[in-house]
Symmetry: C2
Subunit: 420 residues, 2 copies
Amino acid sequence: MATAVHLPATLSREAALALDAADPLADFVGAFALPEGVIYLNGNSLGPSPQAALDRLEQSAREEWSRGLVTSWNKAGWFQLPYQIGDRIAGLIGAAPGEVVMTDGVSLNLYRMVAAALALRPDRRVIVMEGSNFPTDNYVVQGLIGTLGRGHEIRFAEKDEIAGAIDADVAAVVLTQVHYKSSHILDMAGITAQAQAAGALAVWDLCHSAGAIPIDLNGCNVDFAVGCTYKYLNGGPGSPGFQFAATRHQATMAQPLTGWWGHAAPFAFDRDYAAAPGIGRMLTGTQPILSMVAAEAGIDLAASAGIARARAKSLALGSLFQDLVQARLGDAGFALASPADADARGGHIAFDHPQGYPIMKALISRGVIGDFRAPTTMRFGFSPLYLRFADIWDAVDVLADVIETGLWRDPQFAAVDAVT
Amino acid sequence: MATAVHLPATLSREAALALDAADPLADFVGAFALPEGVIYLNGNSLGPSPQAALDRLEQSAREEWSRGLVTSWNKAGWFQLPYQIGDRIAGLIGAAPGEVVMTDGVSLNLYRMVAAALALRPDRRVIVMEGSNFPTDNYVVQGLIGTLGRGHEIRFAEKDEIAGAIDADVAAVVLTQVHYKSSHILDMAGITAQAQAAGALAVWDLCHSAGAIPIDLNGCNVDFAVGCTYKYLNGGPGSPGFQFAATRHQATMAQPLTGWWGHAAPFAFDRDYAAAPGIGRMLTGTQPILSMVAAEAGIDLAASAGIARARAKSLALGSLFQDLVQARLGDAGFALASPADADARGGHIAFDHPQGYPIMKALISRGVIGDFRAPTTMRFGFSPLYLRFADIWDAVDVLADVIETGLWRDPQFAAVDAVT
């Protein structure tokens, strides 16, 4: 670490340690199995492993699967996991019990939710989406409308264009609450209200917001939503996603991906499909149980911490990072690529830098893990449950060292392969 | 165990032990972590855990996730798993490398494959299916054709009616090779040839055949196929399924469930979808890695054993069971509900018995695990890698005891809940 740093006292390492000492979430750090020597600023991509997730996974594999065998579908409650974990997620996103199931992945879940929304607006053909956001949502809707073959079209609109894009032709707005790159937050309440006033439905993707910021789906009167659990909910690599359908739609909503887990009587093995009541009809087939059980612990930790406290700490971590970068690297070419107003961004902060790629590679080689999105964007995630304020101070100290020593110029960091 | 059993010498327990002593697959038994005191005849539903699967899962969770964190997507090869494991499965089902990917679940995979088939026959509207088979396939196709809204219909045909159901209106036959209940095998080569002669495509579901019987997809000129890995491939509860598309279709096949994992350049984050070349386009989103890595070991074991040897042993196990039931319980009301010709059935054998439900419950209470399908069918699976001939002898011995002592009449076994 750099030995002599002249900073205001509020930006000293001692000040960071004092923040840690006063942190009401400090004890959560010990709940995660992070390796020594790593400062993990990429929980916006893949969260680290809760110790309880590792233990639960091992118990599920070595007891439920190995000893319980097929009887565990009932005795270990595997069949109920989509509902059971769904209800826990509901508590984190402002949904009611019975409005959320955990299942499959976000892309598949979005296919269902958008199909359900379009079926509720059969006379409308336009879907409003933010084209610059994480594009799998675009791909899903493009595939869906191609499959439908009824002349639907996507009206792409960037953040400030969305309001102007909503008119009487719009069947649904399909938007990601927190932008995967810039981290800007869209106005869920306002856009949902505007969409509904125009007769459209609102479908929200919570991938970068669940576990990161307060979400109030029912308070915003959202129609449908999806999200993932492997980012801020620390559910494990590719852990199943979730889907939300407001209670008011559940009796009539269409489901394109019908399968036996969504049947009204799955063990009757009836020849023909009959939809289960409620959110259950939005299930399709057998779920990946081991990935699912591993995801429970992270969701429980998020619930236990409380989203208000988590958000407050995430904002404080991000602001400290931003202030330290400004103070120590203000002339090093880092340009904020996220909203300057901390309240207007999610759990990560993006900076553009012309040498963002080799700088990030060099940072990672020193144990500070963020990520990079072409052409020039470095992303740093401020997940609140396992990061200490001192970690933030140390991360910027390493970043300063990488810049000041010119480590990033080392040829090993120039090769353009995937950063993480 | 019953102490005095008068049987032909060929049906003695000593004869069973002699078969075990001569079994070329005997060493595979030790590769599975089965509990003491259990004879597991339900691998046709959920296979038991290979010891290597448990170890690999733990290594993936505690090393790749916990220590490698987000870098494991590349460094641990997570992104490549659908292709890597797909190629291993290809070797078990008569497919070529690059024709199979492991992903999602069977129902979702079938949606893709049937959608692709229907898109290749845009002027035809009929899908032939065996209505009595495991009905999630019906549900998937019903959901798909409802979503398409173009007047497709399913023509349900039972085994002996299929040939007569294929005509010039048929876009695709969508059939399960081994029947989930009766275990009868459909004639993949003959039906595929007939379908193609009529201008239709053949889509096969291999859920009850992969790992159980020899399959030669390319030898049969199959167009598309799906299957699961948690039955005879012992991949773990809800382990991801697989999908096969013949090379000749890959350049033009449609994919309804487009997502970023099937994009030609997933890390370009382009706004619009562009299909990946080859089977890769049939992927959608991020996969449940922990469930996926756990499934590798079972697939490797199946490949290592060789399907010919596995099938031969499975047939021998099943025949021994059948002979013992006949010899010891010939007048106890068990009626074979599978083809009498062993070559005409898959890896399990079904028996109907008016008291099948309480008998199966009593059997399970004694450590012999099969399952039950209403109204009267008991299923016994003869997975070859972890069952010994002596296990089969002991299982029938317990069954005989359950019948002879009237244990099944105990009120604890009468309650009609799920058997397993």
